[in-house]
Subunit: 302 residues, 2 copies
Amino acid sequence: MNDAVQSVAIVGLGLIGSSIARAVRARLPEARLTGFDGDPAIRARAAELGLADMMETAAAAVAGADLVILCVPVGAMAAAADSIAGGLGPDTIVSDVGSSKAAVGETLRERLPGARIVPAHPVAGTENSGPDAGFAELFQGRWCILTPDEQADPGDVASLSAFWTTLGARVEVMEARHHDLVLAVTSHLPHLIAFTIVGTASDLERVTESEVIKYSAGGFRDFTRIAASNPTMWRDVFLSNKAAVREILARFKDDLAFLERAIEADDGATLFDLFSRTAAIRRGIVQQGQDVAKPDFGRSPG
Amino acid sequence: MNDAVQSVAIVGLGLIGSSIARAVRARLPEARLTGFDGDPAIRARAAELGLADMMETAAAAVAGADLVILCVPVGAMAAAADSIAGGLGPDTIVSDVGSSKAAVGETLRERLPGARIVPAHPVAGTENSGPDAGFAELFQGRWCILTPDEQADPGDVASLSAFWTTLGARVEVMEARHHDLVLAVTSHLPHLIAFTIVGTASDLERVTESEVIKYSAGGFRDFTRIAASNPTMWRDVFLSNKAAVREILARFKDDLAFLERAIEADDGATLFDLFSRTAAIRRGIVQQGQDVAKPDFGRSPG
């Protein structure tokens, strides 16, 4: 099939799921929108916010849907797939928003044999979690990567691509293993480093946590934003994308050792050379609309 | 002495120097304000912007000043000290804004014997450089750390403290070596890591620079801001604060190895535990006004 999606079911109403719900309401106001969350408190809050027609079971939420999107941590994907299996129709597209794609694709295909599976990853988010944290514009101008395998129906891929485009995203199709390597660089390693350095800073004996907080404007505070992200989600990302994270982390450690040797050797030329090259990457990110050019990310002074 | 500063000379009109000049104009409009920059282009631009009465030599700029602030990279501090030596009066306080303090204090005391030296470090900045990048509110609510040695005159320390308070900063007095350790955590290591990871991402063979830029909203873009900072300044910071950077870097590498082992061992509980603790540090930073609470640092969507 390659029809416009008219009925969407969202399983998991956290930051991403609730943002999709809000974006569907804004951009596809005619679509039928149902939802389910395994946590009764989130289910109730999502209903209170009017995010979707919240159902009491996942199977009920997905019944009759053209598109089901699993918005749960990667480690909960198998259970989520099991919970919807009974409700899927023959034409329902099953997608997700997980940050690692090879493992998720395998899980979904294993748990939902015969289902029309098109894994996806909208590269967008904030450090906040939960149904109150979402907003309709989250995907505006951001990339959504689809990772269908060779069994996927091209019409389903086109439908999902059109759906994400309607929500404001730009769409790219990519092989799942390549996605996992690219995201290991642009997302997983940065989070791993940020979690590490924030942990390091809070565990020192000779520098107090109060000092770390007071003088964080020297650079440290930038790392704390992503280190405040959802712990469950990130635990699952690292455990499900080990090989790529290992490969990129090894490169990072080599590069760090190189810089460390340059410092020890008083090799200012090497330091200056690297520190000059890195600014070009930021210019590219700003030019392509993936960040704002304002100093300090536009944080207001004071 | 412990008098209000009535005449200020700024040597070096980059981001910090030009921000001090603007803050002096705004908060101390009666003060005499002179300036010098070793780069004729910056000198001309500073004059054009009306930042200060720009002089043709450093000695002329500091003549008659109550307070001289050297706003040059740490590695240029010795030359800057030499250039002002002939113009200092007996009551002139000599300060600076360098990011490492033990080395700078030694340099200033060696080059300016008998001068009234009070080293300082305003913990504030943006990723932008040069006289056009500064703004009067840069120091508002930020900490300025003074690191006088035991020879410094308490009245001079009080005068400098009052000056920075007038500019909107909060002032702390600290031993220079402790400053260097604290800032190695909250500023130097974050910059070193950010420069490294941005370099790593741009040097991969299997992931293109274009891919890194496109999918940077997954977390990577946060690192690129501080990796776009002034290369000369940062080269000098690492070369002048080696011992503290080495100590903190060793801790960071140990902690990274610990996390890496937890991933390899599928130890989700350890990952979850660390990822939960780090959010508390961010809450402290936001509560104490050192960062904004808005998601994504308040970056506007799209």
